[in-house]
């Protein structure tokens, strides 16, 4: 047999399994313009629907007149809340246990809110129709500040009983949503009261937006003959969407097929359920024709899924030597007009309670108050796992502030407080059990690679030169060390709308030794079709090139909770490995039968089962696959298939060490990134090329958020950043080259030891960029300034410190 002359190394290489930088299988279609995104879907007779949106942030609706709009040729229908009410679809549940208006029901709560849905033959007719829908608004007082909201007599949510509990317990005020606590209040206050050193800081993590290049959209087709609804859309969680659609529409779940086609980036924007999805469905039911809804960029930035908007107040205490003894954090969380955060049910502030970070902090307490304001709803995890970005930013800033108070180098302060390798699994004061880590090794490697001491010496010289008038540029060294918490999550404490956050994989091996695997997740650019095939190749010994990965069609894929929070590899990746192992277990029995030995006398080797001690006697997986379909094997069913639903025993905790070196021109406020070094430890590495790509992308989104990107409102509740003119997305010109590095600390509980990486660079990157800016001004008395550090704000900081005098 030809196969026998191939060396074992070659056999391994042929599989293109885990650990190799396999080229992506998705790229052939994307590079040729043959992707299939939702807006590319064309169906016979398809209509286009678009919204009349509120120009006001808070107003009563006295009337809607669509008469003129309906006269426009090509306009077929104008839907309002009144039309949806009989179907019970004028409101919908949010993922956070609140409810949200699909179309304005008597009032609007934020600018851009959906008021009416115009259904027309094409986009132009729809736009013409929108122009002519007359809405009679009566303006109401606008509240954009959450602190003011909690004091105001103006009740934003008149639909809620002010005396009744919310989804997360008692409410303190009609505009209050919830209070959520973690840790021990009194002991923490006591530790802080009696500490040698206490540093305090207030910081605002501004509102921003994930802004994937493709906006949200959907196409609904209600087939009245067969009673089946098909819904294509930009869904990061297609199965959950199917369940939600079924619950709110009353259509039985088996009659609904949800399909996520190619998705042009998600970053959290496409987790939630939006009025556009519901309206496209209703419009299809009403008209009997397929209806498409695609938001434009302004709709996207103003209405679907903001992120962050956390006002954080912290206290951190330490001994004189710098050993941290306690941490306290209070957050006022601005959720906008509806609570539409996409968090696991029991975590209304996400995993903000990872805010003790990578440090061994014995006592801690966190309290979060959610508040309604006249801003868009959302609160999604923008390239992070449920508020982890906020948590990591908080602790990494508190460390810097404490270092200033202690007059200590912050790299050293981190080092003496890191959780030690031997402390894992580590139970943190706010409840999480960190699975594994080796922070000191990563930190030392990072500092050594960038020559940290050399950088500090250079910085000191720069300060001298600046003071001597020899330069107008300051130098900042940004440090961050982060621990992510991803892979939500164990069904015992993680669910969304009651759906446990497991994930799934189903594998079918074909007779000729190729395979298809379907998963409950959906790629939005992460390259699942490439990497999940690699996991399987290593597990079942068939080449990755012979394995098709399919996701996103609820009629064919097993149920799963989708892709966000870096959960695909930790959860669906585990399901893939486990399903692969089931295939292998059956393959072992088939091999033993074919080789006429006992099951235990064969062992798996790369791509085959060999008889123990007789390597020349073997059956390849390809041969075994064929045998599964053509041999009658006593005691075994024909075929070779498996399915696994994986409920993770714990989260995974990737971590990393980042260093940013920046020059800042104090006269223009322009920062120039000289160097960015990123060391990531995401456990077992499946595809290094894709990991690096994820790191580059995540860091760039971090750069954006730290250095300029924001969703801002004026006092009237007008969104000031509704186009890409005002909303900062970095171009190739602003972005540096990144140096990537890694250590490998496998997750002990994950079948292949992988931890997930997509979001780490964003989580760790934001504080790193921000710390670099703040560090440049530290020698001149700066303790903290809020992000985003755009040129104007940096200039203002310099000015405030007297550097322009």
């Amino acid at each position: 047999m030809k196969d026998e002359v191939i060396s074992r190394d070659d056999r391994v290489a042929n599989l293109k399994g885990m650990g190799c930088s396999r080229k992506r299988v998705e790229d052939a279609r994307f590079t040729q313009g043959k992707g299939n995104y939702v807006d590319d879907i064309k169906l016979d007779g398809m209509l286009f629907g678009d919204f009349v949106r509120s120009p006001y942030a808070h107003a009563r609706i006295k009337g809607i007149n669509a008469e003129e709009a309906l006269k426009i040729p090509g306009v077929l229908a104008v839907l309002t809340a009144e039309d949806l009410a009989p179907l019970g679809l004028h409101w919908m549940p949010t993922l956070a246990g609140d409810k949200q208006m699909v179309l304005a029901d008597g009032k609007v709560l934020f600018q851009g809110q959906e008021v009416a849905f115009v259904v027309a033959e094409d986009r132009y007719a729809a736009a013409d129709g929108i122009e002519l829908v007359e809405v009679d608004y009566e303006e109401l007082p606008v509240i954009v500040d959450p602190f003011e909201s909690l004091k105001s007599d103006v009740v934003l949510r008149e639909d809620l009983d002010p005396n009744a509990d919310g989804a997360h317990g008692p409410r303190k005020h009609p505009n209050h949503i919830f209070t959520w606590e973690a840790g021990d209040k009194e002991p923490t206050e006591e530790v802080i009261a009696n500490a040698d050193i206490v540093a305090e800081e207030s910081m605002y993590y501004h509102r921003t937006h994930p802004c994937p290049l493709e906006t949200c959209g959907s196409v609904a087709l209600m087939d009245k003959v067969n009673g089946k609804l098909t819904l294509w859309g930009t869904f990061q969680a297609p199965h959950a969407i199917r369940t939600i659609v079924s619950l709110i529409s009353g259509i039985e779940e088996h009659n609904i097929r949800v399909i996520s086609p190619d998705i042009g980036g998600g970053f959290g924007n496409k987790v939630g359920a939006y009025p556009g999805y519901v309206c496209s469905v209703v419009a299809s039911i009403v008209t009997g024709r397929p209806v498409k809804w695609i938001e434009d960029r302004m709709d996207n930035l103003m209405t679907t899924a903001f992120a962050r908007d956390y006002w954080m107040k912290g206290k951190i205490s330490a001994t004189k030597e710098g050993k941290i003894t306690g941490l306290q954090c209070h957050v006022t969380a601005d959720h906008g007009g509806f609570d539409a955060c996409a968090d696991p049910t029991k975590f209304p502030a996400g995993f903000m309670n990872i805010c003790t970070g990578s440090y061994d902090i014995p006592t801690a307490y966190l309290e979060v108050d959610g508040v309604y304001t006249n801003k868009a709803p959302g609160g999604v995890s923008y390239r992070c796992s449920f508020r982890v970005t906020e948590a990591v930013y908080f602790i990494e800033r508190m460390i810097e502030v404490l270092a200033i108070k202690l007059n200590m180098d912050s790299a050293e302060l981190r080092r003496i407080n890191f959780i030690k390798k031997e402390q894992f699994p580590y139970k943190a004061a706010l409840g999480w059990e960190y699975d594994s880590g080796d922070y000191h090794t990563a930190w030392d490697k990072a500092l050594k690679t960038v020559d940290y001491d050399g950088l500090r010496a250079e910085q000191a010289q720069r300060v001298e030169d600046f003071k001597a008038g020899k330069t107008r540029k300051l130098m900042g060294i940004g440090l961050s060390f982060f621990t992510e918490i991803v892979g939500a999550g164990p069904v015992k404490n993680c669910d969304i709308l009651g759906l446990g956050m497991f994930d799934s994989c189903e594998i079918r091996i074909h007779p000729t030794g190729s395979a298809i695997a379907r998963l409950g997740t959906i790629s939005q650019g992460q390259g699942h079709a490439t990497t999940f095939a690699q996991i399987l190749a290593s597990e079942i010994g068939l080449p990755a090139d012979s394995i098709t990965i399919e996701e996103g069609d609820t009629d064919t894929a097993p149920y799963g909770l989708g892709t966000y929070g870096s959960r695909s590899t930790p959860v669906a990746g585990a399901a893939t490995a486990m399903a692969g192992r089931k295939i292998r277990a059956k393959a072992q029995m088939i091999a033993a039968y074919l080789l006429e030995v006992h099951d235990n006398d064969v062992e798996f080797d790369v791509d085959r089962f060999v008889v123990k001690g007789a390597p020349e006697r073997f059956k390849t997986m390809k041969e075994i696959a064929f045998a599964a379909y053509n041999q009658a094997i006593p005691g075994l069913e024909p075929g070779l298939e498996a399915v696994s639903y994986y409920d993770p025993p714990n989260m995974t905790y990737p971590f990393g060490a980042y260093v940013c070196v920046m020059d800042i021109d104090v006269d223009t406020g322009v920062p120039e990134i000289r160097r960015f070094y990123a060391l990531d430890d995401c456990g077992t590495r499946i595809n290094p090329m894709i990991i690096e790509g994820q790191v580059h992308g995540g860091l760039t989104e971090a750069l954006a958020v730290a250095l300029g990107q924001e969703i801002a409102y004026d006092d009237m509740g007008n969104c000031k950043t509704g186009t890409l003119m005002d909303f900062f997305l970095p171009t190739a010109w602003e972005v540096p080259n990144y140096e990537t590095d890694f250590t490998v600390t496998p997750s002990p509980h994950h079948p292949i030891g992988a931890k997930g990486v997509g979001e780490s660079p964003h989580v760790g990157g934001v504080p790193c960029f921000s710390n670099a800016v703040q560090d440049a001004f530290r020698p001149f008395g700066n303790t903290h300034t809020n992000m985003p550090h755009d040129h104007w704000r940096i200039w203002k900081t310099a000015n405030g410190l007297g550097l322009h005098d």
């Binding site: 790229d27 040729q32 313009g33 290049l213 690096e692 190739a732 010109w733």
Partner: protein, 164 residues
């Protein structure tokens, strides 16, 4: 509508002729009328470059041009660059160097890059970053896009030398 204009244009080597309202945008013509869905819409305001096409040898953002303005022109979209059996070196390079993730920006990126390399066959990294600054990518952080374009430039120059 009454005031339609008579438009003639060549798209990816094929002559097209139709009546269109003066307000019809070129991106709409391509995507909806001609079913050429490679060019995408990311912003509608000429900031993102997802809709980039080539018109008479120039890179143009199709979301901000009326089809009437393109009447009489030759338009090339990603569909007119390379074929499945013979990809353009840029298409090969983007695959090889992981120059894309979600792929949404990719048609515009590659279309723009074909022009960039015509304008400047041996660009420096700075030239590339400057020349591509009209095209936004939300996924890759550009590092591998730059690498892909550099690799294609080298490939195309050596192919040209070999041919000469």
């Amino acid at each position: 509508m009454s005031n339609k204009m008579h438009i003639k244009m060549n798209v990816n080597g094929k002559d097209e002729e139709f009546l269109a309202e003066p307000r019809e945008l070129l991106i709409y013509t391509l995507r909806e009328r001609l079913n050429i869905t490679g060019p995408h819409i990311g912003c509608d305001t000429s900031h993102c470059g997802a809709c980039t096409v080539t018109i008479d040898g120039k890179s143009v953002k199709a979301c901000t041009m009326f089809v009437a303005q393109a009447s009489g022109s030759s338009v090339t979209t990603i569909e007119g660059i390379g074929t499945p059996d013979s990809l353009h070196p840029l298409q090969e390079a983007f695959k090889e160097h992981h120059g894309l993730q979600c792929g949404y920006c990719t048609p515009g990126m590659i279309t723009r890059a074909t022009k960039l390399l015509e304008e400047n066959p041996n660009p420096t990294e700075e030239d590339i970053r400057f020349g591509m600054a009209g095209n936004i990518c939300r996924c890759t952080g550009y590092q591998n896009i730059v690498k892909s374009i550099q690799a294609a430039a080298v490939e195309m120059s050596s192919a040209k030398e070999a041919a000469e």
